[in-house]
Structures are given as structure tokens and as C-alpha cells.
Symmetry: C2
Subunit: 205 residues, 2 copies
DNA sequence: TGTACATCAGTGAACGCGCGTTCACTGATGTAC
DNA sequence: TGTACATCAGTGAACGCGCGTTCACTGATGTAC
């Protein structure tokens, strides 16, 4: 990695961890540059101001999550071609991934900034919005594939069902942060899995 | 209301709204006292320091939520004595309550502080923890009543199921904050309702 | 009933500290001729 | 090959501002005798 991108991502790593621990406003540039072993001026060479840091952090986080989901469900599809079983396997893999993190998942940058959104400019808030809408679209289209094969046992709002994956992950992460536990998000995902089995698996169309 | 409690709760109202908008660190005592129309000194008459404000805010929020849930499910029980139907009616009432808020629910103080917990002392973090555990116990015991009458269609972890109510609410609130929409939390609650119908309603024990 | 004192619910000036940001400068590397 | 200049990736001192907190003081109300 070039010097430039290497330092930049060192800054972003440290900032992300700090923001998840105590929020954006409470994370000082001083502590970031101390952690990244550069000077204050060095920080402002990479980011125009603190808001630019927030935007870069979110962009990187969203991109990484997208790659993670792409990868996860690609692996699931290799194991089973049926859309329902692919979804169930993907969620299982996601739950396992969360359980396997030794310190527990550190939390979601989207949720952290959603509860501090008046600190940021419109660009950052739009980014946050687009991320959630992207996940809605991703999962909604997977659920539509499933519904084309399996008739839902009860009528459901497909947008809401698409959102449910994000919602369950976000909710689980809030719980495990508040409780100081490690596996709440994974357990909530397993409950979502059971839900989807009950909703779809009974009636092959 | 006595002067004392009246001013105190005016401070807490303003602080809570501000904390949900931009986080605890970014909420200054200056803006709180300006909103409450008192002086800086007046604030410190009521709260020893900013951490004491956080604790009081959380205590009040948790108490209010507990009363709200007590009330909601008491009304539900009046409408139907069966534990499953009581739960389903209670969740419907909760979803309606969320939909009826003209500005949308402002967000949960627990979630906001969970993503800023390194700012607070142990007392505040314990309070947060106890709140989530309290909701777990509340809903778990309701689900156990249900399971005594209706055999679950799939095996579920009862602690996780108890947590699921909080998780769905928290997750839905994160989504609606990030999206700037109003009814995501209500829709997630309706999906949870469908889940519980599928899980329990089929097999009367 | 009058007087002395105590408590309550504040006021508002002052404090020092840490914050985000700016800016003149620097040494290493790359490019033109 | 040598020299001049440009760009890159920073350094570190300095800036002013807003923050949480302290403190001496105040006027209204309550209580004792």
C-alpha cells in the first residue's frame, strides 16, 4: 500500500474504534494523531476537517459491509441453489461470523452516527440513508426470489422484510453493547432465521 | 409540581431531546440552561456534574418506559385474557402508538448512550444494562406463559426471544433515524407480531 | 405579632483547559531539460 | 550526468473559542421562640 493510503487508513481505523466507544464529538483529533503516530498537521493533510473524516469513515464502512454481504451470500449460494436455503445459510454464516469475533462485534458506524446526526452535514446524512436503503434493496430482492418459489404463510410488507435484516443486526448490536455481552446479535439473527423458515418453508408455490 | 422538580424536569426534557439529536458530549450545559431559561449556576444546583445529568436522564427514561409497557399490556389483557392474544394486541397497540407520533419517535436514550458508553461512569453503564435485562425478564415471562398454552412450532431460546422485543424496537428506531422516516419501528413490530403468530398459534398444547 | 436565623432555588462572573483549525516550513522523492 | 524545480507527506507552534466547573452572593420562603 502506498504511504498515502496506508496513513489514511491507519487514521480511519483509530477513528472508527474511538467513535464506536464514545461518539464522534468526544473523539478528539489529538487522540487520533497520537494513535496514528503523526502530527496534527498530518491529519489535516489527509482530511480537510472533522466532517470529512466522518464521511470517509462512513464510506469505507459501507463499502466493507457490502463486500462482506456479497461474499457471504455468494458462499451460501455455492452451498445451495434454492433461494430460501441460500438465505438461511447466509444468515447462519453471518451469525457464526459474529460469534467468532473474540471481542464481540464493536458496533455499527451507521447506528453510532444515526444517533448523532445533527453533528454532520447533509452529505454524511445522505450517505447513512443510502446505506440503509441499499441493504433494503439487497434483501428485498432476495426475499422476492424466495416468494416466487415459496408462498408466504402470512402477508408481509416486502420493504419492511428487507429492512428486517438490518434492523435485527442493529437491534442486536445495541443490546450487546448495552449489556456488555457478545452474542446477542448472533442470537437475534438465529431468531430471524427461524422466522423465515416458518414464513416461507411450509408452502411451496 | 414543586418548583424544584418542575425546573429539574424542564432541564431533563431539553437535555434528552438534545442528546438524541447530537449525542451527549456535543450537548453543552450552555444550551441546556438557555433552553430551560436558568443560569449555569442553576444547573449545577440540580446536578453535581454532567455525569449526574446522564444518570438522571436514564433513570427517568427507564421508569417512563416501564410504566408505558405496564400500561400497554394491562390494556391488552383487558381486551383478551389469552396470553398469546394479549401479547399480539399489546404489540399492535405499541405499533399504533409509534405511528401516531406526529414527528415520529425521537429515539431511545438507551441506544444513544450505548454508543457513547466510555463517556460515563460505571453507575450509568449499569443502569443501561439493568434496563435491557428488565425488559428481557418482562417479555420472557410473558413468552413462557404463552409457551405453556401453545407449543412453539420451532425450538427457540427464551432469553433471546425476550430480548427480541427490545431488539426489534431498537433496530427499527435506528433505521428510522438513519432514513429520516417515521414508521420503520412500527413496521418491524408488525413483522415481529407475524412471527409470534407463526411460532405459537399453530399448536395449542 | 415581631424578629432572627436557616434553607431553597437560584444568579452571573471568573477559572483554566482542551478543542479544531491554520500556517510557515521541511526533507524526501519525482520530473524536465 | 547534473541541476533546477515541483510535488508529496508530512511537522509543530500558535490561534481563539467554547467548554465544564467553581464560587461568592442573593432574594424569597419557612421555622423557632
Amino acid at each position: 500500500m502506498a504511504e498515502r493510503t496506508e496513513t489514511r487508513s491507519r487514521i480511519l481505523n483509530i477513528a472508527e474504534a474511538a467513535v464506536l466507544e464514545k461518539g464522534f464529538e468526544a473523539t478528539s483529533i489529538e487522540e487520533i494523531v497520537a494513535g496514528a503516530e503523526i502530527s496534527r498537521g498530518g491529519f489535516f493533510y489527509h482530511f480537510r476537517d472533522k466532517n470529512a473524516l466522518a464521511r470517509a469513515m462512513l464510506e469505507r464502512y459501507i463499502e466493507a459491509e457490502d463486500i462482506l454481504y456479497d461474499d457471504l451470500f455468494a458462499r451460501a449460494r455455492e452451498l445451495n441453489d434454492d433461494p430460501l436455503h441460500c438465505m438461511l445459510i447466509g444468515l447462519k454464516l453471518l451469525a457464526e461470523m459474529l460469534t467468532d469475533m473474540p471481542e464481540g462485534h464493536p458496533g455499527c458506524v451507521i447506528a453510532a452516527t444515526a444517533y448523532q446526526d445533527r453533528l454532520f452535514d447533509r452529505g454524511v446524512r445522505d450517505l447513512n440513508r443510502q446505506a440503509i436503503l441499499g441493504w433494503r434493496t439487497r434483501f428485498r430482492s432476495m426475499f422476492e426470489e424466495i416468494a416466487a418459489v415459496y408462498e408466504p404463510a402470512e402477508p408481509v410488507n416486502m420493504d419492511a422484510l428487507g429492512d428486517m435484516v438490518s434492523s435485527v443486526v442493529e437491534g442486536g448490536l445495541v443490546l450487546q453493547r448495552a449489556l456488555g455481552e457478545h452474542d446477542n446479535a448472533a442470537e437475534q439473527i438465529m431468531l430471524l432465521r427461524t422466522y423465515l423458515k416458518l414464513l416461507f418453508a411450509r408452502h411451496r408455490a
